[in-house]
């Protein structure tokens, strides 16, 4: 187990390193002059030279990338003559447009995206697995057929379409909810949940569809297996068969999917956040794209890549606990 863990951690680190090199290469090599991009739409000549100096663009590329890595581990200083901008330990770069380290900018937005993602994740697991079990236990029933139709409609509804329709229904026609804003959890938990309800539902319902289908399919497969037939032959109550034996088997694929989703959800929050005006990581990325703030774009891209890789690794580890037949070697 310890050996497996160590190997997985080394592998994960290698993938992250490769990922960062790719992202770095794409953004700092491809466009003609990175300083001009970093400088933004309105750029004065002396600003440009200052950025040139700060970034050390006269150095060869691999050296620049090493500096970037060094900043990631130990922090670095961006200096041009009199002014020195310090960028502390996990330094993902420096946003010259907002005059702040990228790491700080990302960390400021993280609570919003986490609130959105975690709340939605709880909802989509409950809704997805719940409806999947209802369909899977009574295949062909009215409930199953209705859920299948709903799931089909759900796959055809992108986040931004569902979000707008929910806004229209709950904020305009029924007027049950105020137009969502963002209230930090620490300030007012009730307002926090009330404001996030629609974003949660939007993200959760579009994701739950996949879980519902997966749970249904897996459950049907497991219920057809030999060990379930044996249990039935022994006269074990159906409730116990499903609760203790069948449900456990459905967990493994759900965990895989969940690990994948929690990673990619950072990507799908871009749409949810910009629709509901939530000031999270996705909104930060879009704003950075619109102002061509390249260091922030690179930082956010790297962070979302990290989330996916780490999510996958965690899912692999969780297998072992869900299904002891899976040996971690």
């Amino acid at each position: 187990m310890t050996r497996y863990l160590l190997r997985r951690i080394v592998e994960t680190l290698a993938v992250l390193l490769l990922l960062s090199a790719c992202v770095y290469a794409v953004f700092y090599v491809l466009p003609g002059d990175p300083a001009r991009l970093i400088c933004g739409k309105i750029c004065l000549p002396d600003q440009l030279t200052a950025i040139h100096q700060k970034l050390g663009l006269d150095q060869p590329l691999w050296e620049q990338y090493l500096h970037f890595l060094q900043g990631l581990v130990a922090g670095r200083d961006y200096s041009s003559g009199p002014s020195v901008n310090h960028c502390p330990a996990p330094c993902l770069g420096y946003s010259f447009q907002t005059d702040q380290p990228v790491t700080g900018l990302l960390l400021d937005r993280l609570p919003v995206s986490l609130s959105l993602t975690l709340g939605a994740a709880v909802l989509w697991l409950v809704i997805g697995v719940g409806t999947g079990l209802v369909s899977g236990l009574r295949p062909g029933s009215l409930a199953d057929r209705a859920l299948t139709a709903v799931a089909l409609a759900g796959t055809a509804t992108p986040v931004f379409v569902l979000g707008l329709v929910l806004l229209l229904v709950f904020c305009v026609y029924l007027a049950w909810l105020p137009f969502p804003g963002y209230v930090p959890l620490t300030e007012d938990p009730v307002a926090w949940a009330q404001n996030l309800l629609l974003p949660w539902l939007t993200l959760a319902l579009t994701t739950a569809v996949v879980y519902s289908r997966l749970t249904r399919t897996t459950l049907l497969e497991i219920l057809a297996e030999d060990h379930i037939r044996t249990l039935r032959a022994y006269g074990v109550p159906e409730r116990r068969i499903i609760g203790r034996h069948a449900l456990r088997g459905t967990l493994t694929p759900i965990i895989t999917l969940f690990g994948l989703h929690v990673g990619t959800v950072l990507g799908s929050t871009v749409l949810t956040e910009s629709l509901f005006g939530l000031p999270g990581l996705g909104k930060l990325l879009i704003d950075a794209v619109n102002t061509i703030d390249v260091p922030v774009v690179v930082g956010a891209t790297l962070l979302s890549g990290f989330a996916i890789v780490v999510g996958n690794t965690l899912a692999d580890l969780l297998y072992h606990f869900a299904d002891p037949r899976v040996h971690l070697t």
């Binding site: 089909l152 409609a153 055809a156 986040v159 229209l168 990325l285 879009i286 891209t301």
Partner: protein, 287 residues
């Protein structure tokens, strides 16, 4: 199997609408980019005159709040962008995926290992975020629909590559491939003449399933304001504008939302039908 016919009918209708967009707008007597300030009420902040977002005999789906542009014309021209970009992106995905998958499947152990790792990395990338990021660094003069198709395609070929690699690995052990080898055919010739034909059918099936996802990607990028540039209309962009107006002019939300929903649903049904026709055994429990 009935479902796929419904899908096919809607897809055919959408393609026809996209192809005959200039004709349809001429029939309506409107155009997609003309401003009609006389059709909106400036005292109400630019809301269209008349009920249901200004739907009338002249403007079949009403007019845009603020500008008074004809919504029917914009939806019809938007279909060109939506379908065009989605199909273009699918072509890019299939071309790259097939090439990489074939190379991995036919290559030696080293090439296969490297390419497979590359495919895994590709599939681990957050597509949407990378697409967004890449759209920043491309110069503004580049034709937008082409760029969108390219970007969506470049980040979405992992699945196709995996499929082609698996298919290639199984095909290359067949007797007829061994026969071709013995007859002196080189690796490239075997790949092109013997393996490729056997890969076409599963790839086309898979492509049919990729298409609805690509429609969603285009609409999403346009919704975020980094897709096609105005005045070119696109459904996602209309929805993005509508998100400002949804309280006062709900029709402006409902029409592009319905268009996206219908297109994605139709292509999903069609893709499912193609998959089931190609692989009749999976009709049961698999969804």
């Amino acid at each position: 199997m009935r479902h796929y016919r419904v899908g096919l009918a809607i897809v055919a209708a959408l393609v026809l609408i996209a192809l005959t967009a200039p004709l349809l707008t001429a029939l309506e007597g409107q155009d997609a980019t003309g401003f009609h300030p006389e059709l909106v009420n400036s005292a109400l902040g630019g809301l269209p005159n008349g009920a249901l977002g200004g739907i009338s005999a002249d403007h079949w789906l009403g007019v845009e709040p603020g500008t008074g542009r004809d919504i029917f014309a914009r939806i019809v021209y938007g279909a060109q962008v939506s379908l065009g970009v989605a199909i273009g992106a699918t072509v890019v995905q299939v071309l790259i995926g097939t090439t990489v998958g074939l190379a991995a499947g036919m290559g030696g152990r080293l090439a296969d290992g490297l390419l497979t790792r590359g495919i895994d990395l590709m599939m681990a990338l957050p597509e949407l975020i990378f697409a967004i990021a890449l759209l920043v660094i491309v110069p503004a003069g580049f034709p937008r629909p082409l760029l969108l198709a390219g970007v969506i395609g470049v980040f979405g070929w992992g699945g196709t590559a995996r499929l082609v690699r698996a298919q290639t690995l199984s095909l290359r052990t067949r007797d007829y491939v061994a026969a071709a080898r013995l007859a002196g055919a080189g690796r490239v010739r075997v790949a092109r003449r013997e393996i490729l034909p056997g890969v076409v059918a599963p790839v086309l099936t898979y492509a049919a399933l990729l298409l609805p996802g690509n429609i969603v990607s285009e609409a999403g990028l346009s919704f975020l304001g980094i897709g096609v540039r105005p005045p070119t209309p696109s459904w996602g962009q209309m929805l993005s504008n509508a998100s400002v107006w949804f309280r006062s002019d709900p029709m402006y939300v409902i029409i592009p939302a319905a268009a996206i929903f219908l297109a994605v649903l139709a292509f999903t049904l069609l893709g499912d039908g193609v998959r089931k026709a190609a692989n009749p055994r999976t009709t049961g429990a698999a969804s």
